[in-house]
Symmetry: none
Subunit: 309 residues, 5 copies
């Protein structure tokens, strides 16, 4: 890995109260791949097999039924890390040992059950992360769900347990549940709020969806309007989310959302980069394309972040 | 046990991140019985006494009230393994020590209680499996149940605990619950999804029911149709399930379903074998017949798999 | 204790996978009292104070308010064992140390609370059983209750814990709960099913109520009729229950049910004995009578079993 | 594995107080290899690298520097088991998973240190044995050493720990130490005594050196002479050692001793077989020869035991 | 880190029975620094402050009194790893997080005490290694010491504990003690034996001193002479040590020994490289020189290994 440059050191300084192990693993991700040393992130996450089923996830590009495919894609593209549930890592981690930092997604939800409140199941552990050589764990919370307390409390315990053995935690913050409208799930006030909650819960890296300019909560709406918080462009909204995540002192990355056309996707990424977002976590948009196209897309995305540095 | 041939070695290589103990026990099952060395499986499971009551299970062939009967049947037929709940193994394991690999079924459900959400009770432990000389544990999940999280989390802990002492885990993946229609329980999209979930949860061997060509989930239906995934014949459907289980890199076996006529049963098995299924787990269809007929049926099934090799 | 005769040895051989401690304690009960060496059991259980209140239990024979009374009754009658909750044993065990094998009933339920699902509380432990010199623990399950999983899982852990220190477990299997009609609680299909479940959960001795010829579950009814399983007489029904308990290879004993007239009671016992039942566990019918009558009744019951040997 | 024949079942019956797991692993060794089903043993042990250094052990046949060599030799020769210290198993167990039963030698001694009293160091654990898929652990005691208590007490704890997880223990009983003359280390009274001690400490299999007709202890000498215990031939001496190991109810196997000429070696084996010894554990005499010669020797040895059956 | 090349993958394959975490950390060291991807090692160890005192260690180059100095030296030189006791890592690890793989030396010995038998004290733990973000632990054994058993047993527990959390173990194998002459400490038979012992104890990387052609043990001498094992040149001796470490399937690295002139040192390194040694671990010879000279020396050493690849 290249010597960490000043930006990497600055980011690590935001995590001063964490132990050296946690910082080392954050550095491992920041010092790996095509964006090594820039403090920017492009992560490949593949939990859609669990979340939506194999066919819905992999039929567009059948090579992706094989867990090895994603490892190799993340390595070839020069991603900072590859994130997946236990089974996928179990299957392929040995073959690719040491070639790309891993994030073990320790909770997951499928779409077969009808739950009273959205709430993922814990599907792996910090012990698994260590034995599989991972650099972080990942956990999904659904702010807005009536099962919020279950998730926040599980997360708190996992963050602490992971921290003690030197592993940072990536929080997938997806607002969802009885408390929110469908449109509200990506409202700027809600996304910013979810990012703040994640930081307060001890997240080292926060993942949110790109926010829209919709405002969900009436009380929030009043404030955003009174203080004329700029939320018109993606760059403005991202800047506000990053500000809401401890004023830029926690790493916030943005998902690509549903698979769609390349131009729109890159436009979003340019907005994220312009707004000071730390990077993208891009799953379906990458692995559902033929590999050459996926590599091209990821390279373009990395290029945008590199230039935004 | 015979020297592992190339197919057995190849299958073991799919479990590279597991310890040698787990691989040794997988090998013990693959190197035992009439299908030794082929990488194919025919397993005798007898948990119907617990699941449906003794009379419903054993009245058709009263010799089967005696747990010894099933052990001897599995041995005489040359099955790769015999799976049962704690009590049956306690009763007979000593008498047949070392004669057939055992799978301890560690959770079970009866049909006396009316549960809010389908969810089996844990009825034995990894400690029991070790003291009884078992080669694996077995656990049932009901994807589609509102108690999904309870089961996934119990399974996760058991898989890890078993793994550490060298025991693989067989997952009985039975989609069931409020989230699914009756017909949906064996829908191809649901069965494939249940297989994927099992793999992600760390299953070493996945057991599903033979799928029908019905499609349950609207979002999945669109994808199956758009990509024209072939699901008309049993072979095609099995091929898709196997693909959904890490592209053929996890062992997937198929139950025989409700007891019925031999011709239909063997036709299904031929489809499973043609589609690349790893084998059958056949309970009622075996032990509810008179022993000579059961031996004949199991021999015929094994023959189909041997030729498909 | 007298040398175990052939029947005792045969019964012990059914518990081959248990350690010598468990077998020794089973032997202690089988080699004690008036039925020593026959493999038959008459046990005095007194948990009605907890289950129904003291007055409902002991007012008919006020001497029975004193726990010493029951010990002395079990000793004088030559019972194989005396079973009671913690408090009763604490009170009197010291005085009668070594005079009769004890079974510590480790869970109990009162009739004051209204539970969502019937489920007893754990009221003592394996540690208590050891320090009180007991020969077994006892545990009640309610198959049919929505709290089934709680009970099965507690039982599983207790069986394992007890086993490791050489104590067998007696399971009181009382079908009860939302899943069953009142009549169904003693239906032959349900009682046989409850016996099977108890055996699968690792019970060394199963206690059920004498079954009626009613059939509760439609699916079971079909099977009983199709295979013409004889259930008309008590002897036939008991034979079926014993068959359902691992084909006679687990000890199954029968309660006397509600207190009633002696003739009917003895008629039932004759049916149990004729059907191959291992014995009776008789509480209220014994201790609610004046002691001389109780001794007479128990002697008559023992006589029936001795002759049935 | 072949169905256990009567002799295997008889031997297992000697271990009736052990759990099924222990018996299963004993059966695994007895049902494996060229002597499968005979109740006879030929085991390949390779701990000489640790005990005497690599060059002294492997220079005569340099292929043997590679741990894989010994696995393959044990497999090709059809040995019942292969025994080695941790490092050798770590190195090669994954490659040969499931192909030969393994015995993890959990203590070892080197010849670099000058110890006050001979006493091996514990070099691996029951946990290691489970994760490496072993069928037994092995432990060396030096009866005659002033450090006897350390060894006997360590062994006792290991035997219990191993037993609980279903692993039998093989005891290497090498009389040695201040209490004995050099000649006395293989004296018939001493070897027979060491075998008895091993059995009393809970050994499932005892390994001793072939005894000479020398008598070391004066008190013992008197008795051997008074009762005219036959010790002139190897067969007589082996018969006495086997008798001293619970009258033939514990498995006793004999080492080949220092590497030497084939005729003398086979003569010894014939004596061991004639005297009712359960088999041989043959290290240097096997792996220090060129592989074809080693295979020939082991085949000849197995032949002798097979015929003695 | 660069994609692992074929040699790195081959070396990792020697550790097949280890979990992915252990392999990942081995890969981290092999994929870091100037020798990344070659499978060769140059490690900077600085435990001399503890072992010999600060002045004896650092007076020749006073900048080296500051622990930061050594980190920066290891980073600037492109070493694969930096090894030190707890205090040094505590002091500087936070500042350099993620810039060089760390080995926590978990036992140490000073030269103030007069011990009965040489034996280091445990000075830190696996927990420390995790919270400090280390890639391995290091442990010193003194084969030849009367305290051998204490050390081997401590090591065994640490190897297992570290392994379970994904950390490999580096064993410093220094033959020393009552059993050996001073000259014998670096005798070829003793060094080769110490390497074998370390491998058997589960070492992932073994560190020994460069051996001389002296033969210490009479029994060994006979064998070396009988089989004409070549030990005249450093390359021959290193080849024999590597062979003694599982035939080249464990990583063996060589210390630089006492500080001395550059030419002699590089001559040794050339011999080590020519004999197939995996690399050098070079402390005093590096940090006691002025930094520019140290960097020059380390670059020259790395150059030799790179060319030997």
């Amino acid at each position: 890995m290249p010597a960490a440059n000043d930006r990497v050191k600055q980011i690590l300084s935001f995590y001063a109260s964490d132990n050296v192990g946690v910082k080392t693993n954050l550095a491992r991700m920041m010092n790996h791949g095509a964006l090594a040393g820039t403090g920017k992130f492009v992560i490949l996450p593949v939990d859609q097999g669990f979340e939506h089923g194999a066919a819905r996830s992999f039929a567009p590009n059948p090579a992706a039924y094989d867990p090895d495919y994603h490892y190799q894609l993340a390595i070839d593209a020069g991603c900072n890390a590859y994130a997946a549930p236990l089974g996928s890592l179990e299957m392929s981690a040995d073959k690719f040992a040491g070639q790309v930092p891993l994030i073990l997604k320790v909770n997951n939800s499928d779409t077969l059950a009808k739950m009273d409140h959205p709430c993922s199941a814990i599907t792996s552990s910090v012990t698994d992360a260590l034995r599989l050589g991972c650099s972080a764990i990942g956990y999904t919370i659904y702010p807005g769900s009536g099962a919020r307390n279950v998730m926040y409390e599980e997360l708190r315990e996992l963050v602490l347990e992971a921290k003690e053995v030197g592993l940072p935690t990536v929080v997938w913050a997806y607002a969802r549940g009885e408390g929110l409208s469908k449109q509200g799930e990506t409202a700027i006030d809600v996304i910013a709020y979810a990012a703040q909650i994640s930081c307060q819960l001890g997240a080292h890296i926060v993942k949110v969806k790109p926010p829209t300019d919709y405002l969900e909560q009436p009380e929030a709406k009043k404030v955003y309007e009174k203080y004329a918080i700029p939320i018109k462009t993606m760059a403005e909204r991202v800047r506000h989310v990053v500000q809401s995540a401890f004023n830029g002192k926690r790493i916030v990355i943005f998902s690509g959302g549903e698979a769609r056309d390349t131009a729109a996707l890159l436009e979003d990424v340019r907005g994220i980069a312009a707004g000071g977002g730390f990077g993208s976590i891009m799953g379906r948009n990458a692995f559902q394309r033929p590999k050459p196209e996926a590599l091209k897309l990821l390279a373009d995305v990395m290029d945008i972040y590199r230039k935004a540095g």
